[in-house]
């Protein structure tokens, strides 16, 4: 992205910042924003979070679970979330920058709405009154932390809907330690972005800089496709789409995934033997003897995996 371009973006992209108070202390940076979705609101609406919280109030899915989640696929997550009656946590239809590279991290949410000067001017004034000199996409980007995935609602906008070009994409990669990006909107500088090692999911690509929009939320609930995303959700992107896992479901998803991996391992081993029809083995063995064999295998492998995990 060029200097002229970003100036243009700055001109068009101001923040709708009722109650914004970014500079006061470390504990409030980026915690909550616009239309008064307060620090307390964030805590209330994510009350089932079983983990610690980040300084900005978001649930903090532990690093160790983020590491384990790199082995997940969307289908494994589907099963546990269906069981828990979460039917709307999956979004697809993105262009996927690195199809073979799983994206995992904590959701840092940002919302834009179509620019409207009368609303915009109020927001700018409110922000200035709180000591924030300028309100752009970079205001949000500067708040990112290691382990975050930047999740942005730009309502599918292509022209003027480019959340980042290669420079800011590079910054996001550095700031999040390669966390990732999901944008219901576009990016620019795809040639440059394609040389930077961070997963990204976007709707389209355009040469224009972001503009004709106003920033209306940082770490508020947002909508991406058919999903309500909450700040701190565990974001998992595979070759095809993105799951947003409520923190309270993360452990069950990971534990169930261990079993599924072992089940797949055993199933393929049996298929390799070439003696069985698929329905004799899969979903579960029809022959009681085989079933017992599987159950023992499962038990043994689970123990191995766990002891291996603990030994690290």
């Amino acid at each position: 992205m060029t200097r002229v371009a970003i100036m243009n973006a700055v001109r068009h992209t101001t923040i709708l910042a009722g109650g914004l108070c970014l500079m006061l202390s470390a504990s409030t940076i980026g915690h909550a924003q616009l239309f008064n979705f307060s620090h307390q609101d964030l805590i209330d609406y994510t009350a089932q979070n079983p983990f610690e919280r980040l300084s900005d109030g978001r649930p903090r899915v532990p690093d160790e679970m983020i590491a384990r989640a790199r082995g997940l696929s969307a289908e494994e997550i589907w099963e546990v979330l269906e069981d828990k009656q979460f039917h709307n946590q999956y979004a697809d239809g993105f262009r996927v920058l690195y199809p073979g590279k799983t994206m995992v991290g904590r959701a840092f949410t940002v919302q834009f709405m179509p620019e409207r000067s009368d609303v915009d001017n109020v927001a700018v004034a409110k922000a200035k009154a709180r000591g924030i000199p300028e309100l752009t996409n970079q205001t949000a980007i500067d708040m990112l932390q290691p382990g975050d995935v930047l999740v942005v609602d730009l309502f599918g906008k292509k022209t003027d809907g480019t959340i980042v070009g290669d420079n800011l994409f590079y910054y996001v990669m550095k700031a999040t330690h390669g966390g990732g990006l999901v944008v219901d909107g576009s990016v620019r500088d795809l040639d440059g972005i394609s040389e930077i090692d961070m997963p990204a999911y976007f709707r389209s690509v355009d040469p224009t800089p972001v503009g004709n929009v106003m920033l209306t939320g940082i770490n508020t609930p947002i909508r991406i496709g058919g999903v309500t995303v909450m700040p701190g959700d565990l974001v998992v992107g595979d070759r095809e789409g993105v799951y947003f896992i409520p923190p309270q479901a993360v452990k069950d998803v990971l534990d169930r995934a261990d079993e599924i991996h072992i089940h797949d391992e055993w199933t393929k081993k049996k298929f390799d033997e070439g003696k069985y029809k698929s329905s004799e083995i899969y979903g579960s063995p029809t022959d009681p003897k085989l079933r017992r064999e599987y159950e023992e295998y499962l038990k043994k492998r689970l123990e191995e995996i766990r002891s291996q995990r603990n030994s690290h």
Copy 2:
């Protein structure tokens, strides 16, 4: 809509009601809602409103202007809003129930998001704590006032995205005195709705009742297509699309429309004479004598219109 159906809808559609306090007094009913967009926020973000306010805090474009606005077309509005740098106040792509009937009224905004039980449960608890027993689409509909247009963000949802069937459509008609409906979503019972005299703009029609969503805003800023709609905007729908006019621009739009009507009247009269090429008359007459003729005509007709208007 059937009883069973609506029960189903109730089950799936609960309200996200941080700070909701509906029953306290007439002055707060429906004024502001979820994620704490307060009465004061509503007033701050519509500070340029030159008119009185409704008890819920929304700007109250006067009835007399609503009546005059029935003569507007989207194209006339376009010119004034462009001049005022409002480039994003028009939405189209709707199915229009009555193409020949202009819709005019004050925006009463409602927002839904995809259902997510952990967030939903918190909202239900918060609402209960404030004395609101049940949270459905009807919670919002019951707050409508005469002159309102119900404007709903259901994020384009078709299945389970039907804001009303014919029964509630009838109620909305009664409550708003025929104001109207704009929904970025669907309706059901189109056969029944087609017998009720109220303008409506919707994306699709489906036999399912609304469900699998949660109500997240009443009279908050919402997005309809590429428009940020504010509560109290003057909504004008014509044969093709819908304009959302900020209250502070309404008078200029109406006054300019008077001139455009007279200009069109005169232009057609001249074309009827059959003596001129289109470019000799339109946009403005090339011949100075004709231009003078037009200017006198404009002046005379404006006076007539205004004196006629005042005499009512």
Copy 3:
């Protein structure tokens, strides 16, 4: 449709007629066709049919119920079919010839597949061996009976996918006594068709005659959008889409519709009084006194409707 055109159509549209034996007796005309879906198959797969059967084996929903069904809307049908676990009986996305005119009748199903000469030639030979000289769309159309709706799978084909023009549309109207047409394909001669009084649902319109297809089924199970349609289903089309009701569900749908009509009648009456919020009345009255009032009204009106119906 012109003579040259139909010759062309005949050339391209031959019937895939394993087991076709049309001329033997009245009891087998049109009963079943291709790929050996036999008369017995038709009876087996519609075994729950509570009514008599047509001579071709299809369930015969009684005329009196067809008459009552003219008052149905898709939404009323939805409720009963959902209860009975029929989730896939509704198709929409059609162009509707007469939006204000309900279509009701018994499904007469026809299936086409993309032309393929090696298969086609076998079918033609098999048909000839059974005394059928020519195999075209008219072979099926000639079997229609009063009360039928012609339901055709032309796999969404526009060019060369026109099941009828105005001449054959006129014939279908005469033969079915104005029953109707649903085609997942197109029609031609829309100007002519628009002067003929029969409901029709089609995907598109094209000037070409039908061609480059082969007829592969008459009164076999077919797919229209997301619906498996069985011969003899009660077809009900409203302003927006088409329901295919299994015969065994027809009575419940009609009875439930009586209640819904009365419920809507009462609800609107109450709304007209202007004393109630929508949620006090609808889905069902919250006040026990009102609820009792409603129940008495329901009972009385049901009796009136039924006695009125019996007196005819």
Copy 4:
């Protein structure tokens, strides 16, 4: 359309006018234009025209044939044009202003391309040098003659792609005596246009005036959808789409249509008798006696029609 709007349009819409020389004499007005498609080119490329020519060089399908063509439907035209190996003369996918009103007239073609200032400036200079002060959509519109249909390539543009609003639509109606409009682009002021009695086919509607385009052809060959349209083609629009008939095919189309009308008349009469299966009558009667009956009917009715026509 407003004055301010059209000024804007004028600013953006200039004509690419190599060789334009409008003012010299009546015989050259509007005859040919840009990129040097000369009067002689127009005559060469329409050399098969059997009729007189308009002063601008276009073939002049006689008024009497235009009147007869009002009874045509697209399907009747299809047959003759297929026979003559014209496979690409039909365009659809338009919004049709008056579905029940056939559009007939001589094609007056106009082409726009995306604005590009370096090319535009040359065109403006060339036009000025030839005495044309200003180049807008109105330059073309001012050349329309009675019996014309304005056919415009705006490459499907919606925003800024509105060839006319209600004022210019009114002028076009007056100038062409209600001929009609086909635009692969949009119109504005649909509310106003809907009160004016002229057929129109357009892709979309938008509140913006035309802009960001340059006029690059008047009465040159243009493309509308999959059709190459030549100036002077007979344009026939029905309820669904538009045919562009080369002048040399017009007579055959009209004569064949007479036969088709009689054929349809007779076919329906026979169907009304209720004695025949569709395939016994249509496409042509299978029974030799019936075929003879039809042939006599055809002969008699053709004579009636022709003598009736001649008597006018």
Copy 5:
């Protein structure tokens, strides 16, 4: 795919199995199925097959021809099939798992239709009566043989339309010896599938297991896009789409391909010389001397290829 998921699938996916009799003998396994498309029907409708047949009745294009077919591209097939009046044997619009890897094999066809419990229950009962305990996608998959390509009509279904996940995809790969998959529907577990070496063509990817459908055909004629696919067709998939070649055309396609390969070889060699314009060489040389040169080259190379082929 997980165990829970497949159980769900089993519940929803039952087979419509009139006449199914899988277990009787090797000669009938998988030969023909539902709606009584019998073993004899399969043989009749593929009567032009010049090769042996598989035990299930399908034509058996020889392994040696399958091997040669790996060098084909869709364009080479196009020419011969056009000549033979097969205009509808190509389908595209798929996502292609391995764009650089040609898919070749014998079509094993499977058809699903939208679930409908009344029909489904009959099918289940009929199947049980014939000793088939359970009817799922695996019923069909278990019948696959080496050299098969699994071709599935799931009518474009995405959600609940996933014919396989990675476990069953692995089984199909093993059972067909890497033959391949074409599904007018979706797959799940794309991350897992991407590690398995078998070509696949699908419309979409989804995390849900297959459901809400019923199996209605195994090795019956089915439709994939605009193609009627017959069991035993030679399936050839390239980088872009899939051809379904009737067995009787296979030899001509392969022989013609030899010539085209040589023609391309010679053409490129000539272009490499840099002395000729494209039209002097291609499609065929204009200079008689060059043409002779080419014909000699063709003859020589054909002999080489054939002798080389025979020596294997």
Copy 6:
């Protein structure tokens, strides 16, 4: 592409060649064509060209600039063209053959229109009269020169809209020295094309040869998506889309790109230090000291780049 196929193409694809005179002299070969867009027109409409011209009249952007342009991305071009009021020079929505390989070259433009025999026959006769024996896509392809990019308007046609297969693609690669191809239409033989080292941008792929079209322009202004392309424009294709740069803007684009590359280099270096928020560095440093540092860096690097460039 096969011989039979191309014969077919020849039959359908003839050139509309008013004034075509290819063989007279080197200076006129391919310079300008149909509808009389003359050599002089080409020069007039590209009068701002600051460079020499090719023998066919097109601006000749120097080879050295073509080489530098390989480092451009669309976003860098965007900035300069916006400044110069070129808002419409970018097209996307193509399939990109080699996403990682930048395409650069001089536009050689070709236009097709839907076939129409009456127009076609005139063109063929005019061409014959000038000694051109045959008019096909190869007529244009044979005129290509080193450094050209072939840019073709086939109006988005898929079936029969394939400008080249692998043989002609190979020829184009040889003739242009790997310049490239942009076609608003399709290609065939993608398997073969994927082995040839030349960038290509196309809308779709199809097995049919080009047909049912007529060639109507060579090196005339054409439209690709929303762009008016002039012969001789510098074409730059990146991973996502294609820019058509007017020759007079090329130098500014390249010089500005140098600065942007240095700016990006410095920005990333600073981000690597990990001490700054993104907004402190980008678009431009907020701290005056940093800004100075940047300016010195820019100056130094610009000098290095330029001296390096001159030394080659």
